[in-house]
Amino acid sequence: MSNGLVKGNAYTLGSIEQGEPCCDPIPHFSINNLAVSYHNEMVLSNVSLEVYKGCITALIGPSGCGKSSFLTALNRLSDMVPGAEVSGDIVFEGENIFDASIDVRALRTKVGMIFQKPNPFPLSIRKNLELPLKEHGVRNKSEIESKIFDALQSVGLWDEVKDRLQSSALSLSGGQQQRLCIARALILEPSVLLMDEPCSALDPISSGIVEEMIQRLAGRYTIIIVTHNLAQARRIANYAAFFWMTERVGKLIEFGQCRPLFESPQHSLTAAYVSGEMG
């Protein structure tokens, strides 16, 4: 079931066989021996794991241990960071995303991303959703309308904004902005959502709403979420990956189903981190 998991990573002690499987563990991403460096300085090395379809995978660990670098490698946003170099393999839906034949733009429509700080364009709410659609060739008016409706519905924003689609996206509250950003990613019908601390810039109530929404999206989408909020990871994630920095390089310490990882961690570092003794 998880035969590829352990290879090349001595620290990955956890196994997903602990406990009941929460969803169909079909690999969506297979990451093998991934390393990221900036300006020849290694920040993440030797990461291998599999991300399962329709599951929520939480990436946890202290700041600076390479979680975000890992995340940006998955949609090749790392290409755009000056001095960044990525090595290893990431197989997504049967293709290595580092192959020369890969259309990066198409990849990014399949792998959506949500950032820590809500970043809607300084346009109207409607334009925020319309722009990516038009960019990817959707011209039909009624099709656009129905897609906007669907996207806003699925983030629970439709009722809140349906009367003011023309007003500025920046006039929304932080939580609404973040949900709009998620809707904007969803409107391209991705199969994966990468989320880089999507709630950390939000107030607790908005954060709760967004968190609830993420849970609703699970199943339909494969979600990989970086979070510093351990309780949140525990509440929503099916799988968890714990990163830690050793000798100034980020490493994957333990990966497995969420509950077992929190309740009976296999690695002493994990145990110390999740219990709050360290980190």
Partner: protein
Amino acid sequence: MAMIDRSFTIIIWIMAGLVLLAFGWLVSDVVVQGAPKLSWQFLMDEPTRSGREGGIYPIIVSTLLILMTALVVVLPLGLGSAIWLAEFSSKSSKRVRTTRLILDVLAGVPSIVFGLFGYAFFCGFLDLGFSILSGGLTLACMMLPILIRTTEAGLAAVPQDWRKAGAALGMSRTTLLWQVLLPYASPAITAGLLLSIGRATAETAALIFTSGYVDRMPESINDSGRALAVHIYDLSMNVVGGDKASYGSALVLILMVVIINLSASTLSEFWLEKKISRLK
């Protein structure tokens, strides 16, 4: 604490006051001496007796044509270069650093050198003669560094978040640029454009040698035409008893700049409003 804050506020107000005062002095000088000359006739007549009498109609037309010529060249060239610098080039590369150096140096070339260059290159080498076209091209050279620098700065100030968002949505830079970055940066771009237009309308030395001195109505941009600033300079420095008409023309030039500024900022605000919903 409150004390410091208070005195800072006062200092800022005093500074603004000083600027206003100096400006008021300058402009009131021009208005007081120029207003008696100003009339519909002055605007609509041809100059006579070396400009001491008559009007400045052909000169206004020439000035606008020179400016238009310069803008037609400077807008694509300047905005294009700025966009390349800000969005399409790698900032740390040697080529970019050299280009920047070149631009800054270009901004410091004295206008008379531009004039002599235009005279040798556009009028002579390219055989455009003393014409509105030569003058406009010479002005364009002068405006370029200002427009490029300010546009580039405007684009650099656009939050990085939107570039990330665009990239993550698989959007092309071109779309992002046109839909988000340029509209957002448009106040800065407009400011730069106005700055360079101001410099162009105020230019004398570069135009004396290129667009020339002829004060009759230009029939085409291949004709020589006298710009307002050249007219003002000639009246105040070469024409005995030309001071009155000189101040009158200066007033017209200032009014012209006001009109250009107002329409440009209205236009850009309109564009901004249409594209960008910004919260302030």
